[in-house]
Each structure stands twice: as structure tokens, then as C-alpha cells.
Amino acid sequence: MHLSHALLLAALAIPAATAPVGAQELSGTLKKVKDTGAITIGYRDSSVPFSYLDGNQKPVGYAYEICLKIADAVKAQLKLDKLEVKLNPVTSATRIPLIANGTIDLECGSTTNNADRQKQAAFTNTHFLTATRYVAKKEKGLDKTDDLKGRTVVSTSGTTNIRQINEINAARGLGMRILPAKDHAEAFLMVETGRADAFVMDDVLLAALVAGSKTPDAYAISSEAQSKPEPYGIMLRKDDAPFKAVADAATAALYKSPEGKALYEKWFTQAIPPRGINLKLPLSEPMQKALAHPSDSADPAAY
């Protein structure tokens, strides 16, 4: 393996060695951004309307725009003339390792902020609240958690939801078959094509998938939730307080301003690309509170 190390060293040392050095007072991500003049945003394929690909296969979305605001704030903070925003696709399964190993600096999507994950990554202020539910074809007549008994259920691998449904399955002995899918679109596809009976996910994502499907009327979302409403946050590397401070200040200012409300309305109450569907999800009372008093707490009870 010696030679492979040597080659890797050669391959990797070149960009590292040519990067300008300076700005001693900075550390972590801010230093890296200053040195390289670039920040990398991780985006999702199909987390509608948070972070997904539009008709031209370019990332768009509510969380994606929040990330661009954070990038602007970083640029202003570092007094850079130019900041290149690089994009890297992530899946639910890859996002946490990629944040940890430095491939991406900000993860913009629909990542649930919980205590477990805070051991791996940091989260900025909450940008949405959502509970776990499931979607199924109406003709199957599924509505409650116990209706899933003995069914084939799909969820996206690497999400809190697949963990919750596994725990419920074990605790209540429902005997479900739980299949992991790579991303939300693939999971929904399993329900659409009849490969699975139900798709367990955050209700807002399910609503967006149903609205964007060929036959929105054919699907129903369960009335019983499988979790309390949990907060979504933009994910960044842990133990990087200066960077988090910039991101927190930028998101807090955005959420409290009329611009934050407008941004919310743009993605949740108006027609969105690629097919001009409208999710019709006006600002709920807990969401109004969450935006008025920005918080990065992982505790659902705090909202």
C-alpha cells in the first residue's frame, strides 16, 4: 500500500501546496474559504421544495437559497471580492460523512436536526418543522401506523425516518419489510410502481412528491404521524464555532426579516419549478414562531 499512499500524496499535495497561505487569525471552514476563494454546498436530488433539481437539472429550493445567503454572509465577513460557490450532490446516506470529511461545507436540504446527529455535525437555525408520516396509494386504504402490519415499506436510507420506522417495527412487532432507497424520488417510485405499499418520510416531502406526481389524487398521506414535528437545519461541520456564528447570524437575520417570509412564501405557497405545482402550505403558527425566534435546538418540544 506504500505506493498508493505516495501517489495519493502526489495527487493531493498539488492543490494543497499551491493554495495561498495567510489569514492566521481564521480557523476551520472560514480559513479554508478565505484560502481557496470557494465554498462547497451539498444539494439534494429530490428534496422538494427544499433542495432539488429543476427542469434544467440545476439545484434550486428553499434551503438552497438559504445556503446562498449564508455564502453571501461568509463573503461579506471575509471581505472577499469574489466567492465561488461549488456544488456537490449528496444523498441522505452520504451527507453526514461528506460534511465530516470536508467534501462539502454546507448541506442544504431537509436534514432533521436531532441530538444524535449533533454528535456528528452542527446545525444552524431551524428552517422548517415536519413530522414523520407515510404515503400510500388510496386504493390500499392505509392510514394508521398499525395498518402497515406485514406490509412492504420503503424509506430513504440514512434518514431519521427509516430509523424511526425500524424502531416502531421492532417495538410493536409489526413484521414490516423495510427497504432502503437511495433518495426520495426513488423511494416514491417504489410506491408508484407498486414495489412497496408505503413510503415513510417527513410529511412535507411526501406532500411535495404527491403534488408533483402524475396522479396526485391517487395517493393519501397517513393521518397518524410516526413522530412529533422535528426541526430541519442547514448542516455544517461541528466544532467550528466561528463559521457557525456567521451562519447563525445570517440565518437569524434572514428569518426575522420580511425577506425570510417572502422566501418561505415563494417555495411553499406559490408555483415552483419544474412543473409549476403549488404546495399550498401557508406559514403555520409553530413555523411563524420558529422564524421569529430563530433557534438551533434539536428538541421538538422547543418549538
Binding site: 495519493l8 492543490p15 494543497a16 501546496a17 476551520g28 462547497t40 433539481l53 437539472q57 449528496v90
Partner: protein
């Protein structure tokens, strides 16, 4: 039976499928094949050298890579390379490696093990008398390899190396598991966006088949022309 299918979705997405997807696939294939052949040749020479440390290291590397599924190796490297980079450069924080570079490093290192075995067979196919003759002429080991053995070995092995490159071209489709936009990734993104799985996957299969089949026919013709008759 194709009554419900809409093949116009393919036409509409051609620029994306080829302009982005196929370009990614071909670039990755070309760069990884080049890197893989260079590193693979080195590994083969290490393995055939008479220095026990080098021989064993190369053997271990080749056997390890050939024992693991590519999917697992892709995950390994995507998560691990930034840490190795940090370790190699003495940096305190992981080095940022983009998705494409990461895929490139993975495929180069993985395919090198397969290229190494082809090269080893190629080098061993050169009669020992030639090496002995070169040494008798006063050539160094490096000169013997560069001027006598490798040119002939490469000629013998060219069809196999190209066939392995076709395999590599097919293998790059596995970056799908990382959500990167190679040709198959692009096809599946369109398929999922428009709910047109059948059309897109059939089309992807057709394109892969056309490319690989044509390439393998060309390799066979080349093989007939370059074979050294002994």
C-alpha cells in the same frame, strides 16, 4: 405493449444526457484508464521485481482490490480520501476532494489492480532470452524494461487493456450510488423526474450496448492486426 410509453421524453433530454452525463462518463473513463494503466504498470513491475518488499506490497494491493466489490470501494474512497489527504499533507483538517476527483481516484486505484495483472502477464510473455540479451548488452533494468520488454508487452496486451477499458466504461455507471451525474445518473434523474423509467432505462441500455459493442468489434479488428506471430 409499448402503448403507454412516451419515447419523446428521450429526445427532449438528449442535450442533458450526452452534454453532461456522457461527457462525465467518458472523461472519467479516459482519465481513470490512463492513470490505471500507468499505476498498473508500476504495480506489475514491482510485483515482478526481485525486491521482496516491493513484490509483497504489490501483491497485497492487487489481491486486496480484486477481492472487494467495486461498490464498497467507491464508498470507502468517497469517505476516506479527504482524511488520507489530510494525513499525507500533514493538515489538521480533511482535504477537500470534489466528487469527480474522488471518483477518479477510486477508479484509478481500483482498475490499476486489474491492469496490473494484464501487464504482468504481458511482461511475462516476453521470452527470457530477450531480457538476458538486453542485460548482456549492458542495459540497466530500467532500460531493459523501457526499450525492450514494455514496447512488446504493450503491443501484446493492447487488446486486453482496451477490453478492460470497456469494462471500466461500464463500471463507471456505479457512481450512481453517490448520486453523481454520469450517463446513467442523468438518465435516472430524468426517469424519476418525469416518471419515465421504462423509456429512459431502455434507452440507456441501448446506448451502452451500442458504445461497448462497437468498441469491442474495433478491439477485435485491432487484435487481428497487431498480433505478433511467433
Amino acid at each position: 405493449m409499448f402503448a403507454n410509453f412516451d419515447f419523446s421524453v428521450i429526445g427532449a433530454s438528449l442535450p442533458y444526457l450526452f452534454g453532461q452525463g456522457m461527457v462525465f462518463t467518458l472523461t472519467l473513463t479516459a482519465l481513470a484508464a490512463t492513470g490505471g494503466i500507468v499505476f498498473g504498470t508500476l504495480l506489475a513491475m514491482m510485483r515482478l521485481s526481485s525486491i521482496p518488499g516491493l513484490t509483497h506490497a504489490a501483491k497485497l494491493y492487487v489481491e486486496l482490490m480484486r477481492s472487494l466489490p467495486l461498490v464498497l470501494v467507491i464508498f470507502w474512497f468517497y469517505f476516506l480520501v479527504p482524511y488520507i489527504g489530510a494525513w499525507a499533507t500533514g493538515s489538521a483538517t480533511p482535504i477537500q476532494v470534489g466528487a469527480f476527483s474522488s471518483a477518479l481516484i477510486t477508479f484509478t486505484l481500483f482498475e490499476a489492480a486489474y491492469f496490473a495483472e494484464i501487464m504482468r502477464a504481458g511482461i511475462q510473455s516476453i521470452p527470457r532470452g530477450q531480457t538476458a540479451a538486453a542485460r548482456a548488452l549492458g542495459m540497466s533494468y530500467a532500460q531493459t524494461m523501457r526499450l525492450v520488454v514494455l514496447p512488446q508487452a504493450l503491443r501484446n496486451m493492447l487488446p486486453l487493456l482496451l477490453t478492460q477499458t470497456i469494462v471500466l466504461f461500464q463500471d463507471t455507471s456505479l457512481v450512481y450510488v453517490l448520486s453523481l451525474t454520469d450517463f446513467l445518473g442523468a438518465a435516472s434523474k430524468v426517469a424519476q423526474r418525469d416518471g419515465r423509467l421504462v423509456e429512459m432505462y431502455l434507452f440507456a441500455a441501448l446506448v451502452y450496448f451500442a458504445v461497448c459493442f462497437t468498441a469491442s468489434l474495433l478491439v477485435r479488428r485491432l487484435q487481428a492486426r497487431t498480433a505478433i506471430v511467433r
